[in-house]
């Protein structure tokens, strides 16, 4: 099984810092901005960015976690039911500038579900998308990210795995072949 490292821990750190700077460029002091990580893996990107930005700005940012399970378009197209994760949005998103955060952008279907799920909480002023890894050329829907960590060209038979120190022992982004695929 082929395995290729896309980002090692050092590069991942640099990338996250750049993304944080780009966010700062557009949102300055984050007065009217909320950051929302998509469950299950986007919340780890959010956590890192949050700690970088909070250290930098010296204040707490408004952050939430959004689960998209009930808004997905593949209900009943799978063998197993889709079991939801926790949604944690205890603030009003009405008229806020929302940054949706996920780890990998591939077909765009998760983000489509995420937008639907988000709008159930109200009408934000604007929504932007921040993605750590953008797998280009395999989009099923017209969705693009506003902030991109790294763009990669991949085959449908490959999968991008983002690993985090607190979960998997090391920060790393790798590209592997799907087993039996």
């Amino acid at each position: 099984m082929g395995k290729r490292t896309i980002l090692n821990s050092k590069h991942l750190e640099i990338t996250l810092k750049r993304l944080a700077s780009q966010l700062k460029e557009n949102h300055q002091n984050f007065e009217n901005t909320v950051l929302i990580g998509l469950q299950p893996r986007g919340i780890h990107v959010l956590e890192r960015l949050k700690s970088i930005l909070e250290k930098d700005l010296g204040k707490d940012l408004v952050c939430g976690q959004l689960d998209i399970t009930f808004y997905r378009d593949d209900f009943r197209r799978r063998e197993q039911p889709l079991i939801p994760s926790v949604t944690n949005i205890d603030f009003i998103i009405e008229d806020k500038r929302v940054v949706l955060i996920d780890d990998v952008l591939y077909t765009g279907r998760s983000i489509r579900s995420g937008l639907d799920a988000l709008l159930a909480f109200g009408r934000p002023k604007s929504v932007e998308l921040l993605i750590l890894i953008d797998r280009q050329f395999e989009r099923h829907l017209p969705i693009q990210a506003d902030y991109i960590g790294k763009q990669v060209n991949t085959l449908p038979s490959e999968v991008v795995v983002v690993e985090w120190e607190q979960l998997d022992g090391e920060d790393m982004v790798i590209l592997t072949e799907i087993e039996n695929g």
Binding site: Y71, R78, Q80, I83
Partner: protein, 311 residues
């Protein structure tokens, strides 16, 4: 990932502990959903559900209908009072006619025990039992246990629950006994001898005829209604005597040396099995039970619907 081990929800008897815990976990998410500004998710937009009520119901029926609508399913309602059942149609014919209109899932309440199981064997749709005679009422038991879990924590081991009242005629009691035992809780039934089935001890439940002793033993008391409509003969001299011996009032509740949780599946007969001040007290979780009912039913419908094949 997990899936339910059953294709229909006929009774708690068929469920495993894992099934029940999966339903609870899923209900946690739906409880979040129904507390949002927009209380609706699009998951079941291609599913049609028929609610068949051959027996009166307010709470259960509304609760199911809300759960279905909040999952974006299409809903048709049917009640026996205004239907062809009165004209002599059989149950299977009635249901097959409804299924011919492309219905995927049937929620049914019926006065005959076993009606839901019978239907699940004869027709091609998922069945959810919303109460069949004096047999089972699985969604009520699940929402009761879910409400206990919310108040007392996820671990049911060593939890003591007493079910007080008309055990003989209660489907809620039977489903509750199965559900709580599967989760690891201890169950006691309490009521007049005439209203407690003779061999209920064989289910592994304790039997008590003194309400005070039962309350001193338990952490949670589930007060049931006297189902006069199901009683063919008189089982006790008078309602007033029943209230004196088995009614829960504030005085009795306050005289216990601990704070127990009070539940009631509704409809309440205030002043009979439970006094008004107890029903409205902080120890009562009666309205939480109703709220949780919608979340639990959403979870059950969601999990069963995910097993329906697309065609």
């Amino acid at each position: 990932m997990d899936n339910l081990s059953v294709e229909h929800l006929i009774g708690i008897k068929d469920l495993t502990k894992k099934d029940i815990e999966l339903i609870f976990r899923t209900a946690d998410s739906f409880k979040q959903v129904i507390n949002r500004p927009i209380k609706k998710v699009p998951s079941l937009r291609d599913i049609t559900i028929a609610n068949l009520f051959f027996e009166n119901s307010t709470r259960t029926r509304l609760s199911f209908e809300l759960a279905e609508k909040r999952l974006s399913a299409d809903v048709v309602n049917f009640s026996a009072a205004s239907s062809s059942v009165k004209k002599g149609e059989t149950l299977i014919d009635t249901v097959n006619n409804i299924l011919a209109m492309k219905v995927d899932l049937v929620v049914m309440r019926h006065p005959n025990p076993g009606a839901a199981k019978f239907l699940s064997e004869k027709v091609d749709a998922r069945i959810i039992n919303a109460g069949d005679g004096t047999h089972e009422h699985p969604t009520q038991a699940l929402l009761d246990a879910y409400s206990i879990r919310e108040r007392h924590g996820e671990d049911f081991n060593g939890k003591k629950v007493v079910i007080v009242g008309d055990i003989s005629h209660s489907r809620v009691a039977l489903s509750n006994i199965f559900c709580l035992q599967k989760l690891g809780a201890e169950v006691m039934v309490c009521g007049p001898t005439t209203l407690i089935p003779k061999h209920i001890g064989s289910l592994g439940v304790k039997v008590e005829h003194d309400l005070r002793k039962a309350l001193e033993w338990c952490d949670v008391a589930n007060m049931l209604r006297i189902q006069l409509e199901r009683q063919d003969i008189k089982y006790f001299p008078s309602l007033r005597e029943y209230t004196m011996l088995f009614g829960l009032d504030k005085e009795l509740l306050n005289s216990l040396d601990k704070e127990i949780t009070v539940m009631h599946p509704g409809p309440i007969n205030r002043g009979v099995e439970i006094s008004s001040d107890v029903a409205d007290s902080d120890q009562s979780i009666i309205l939480q039970q109703v709220e949780n009912g919608v979340a639990i039913r959403m979870a059950i419908i969601y999990l069963l619907a995910s097993k329906i094949e697309r065609n």
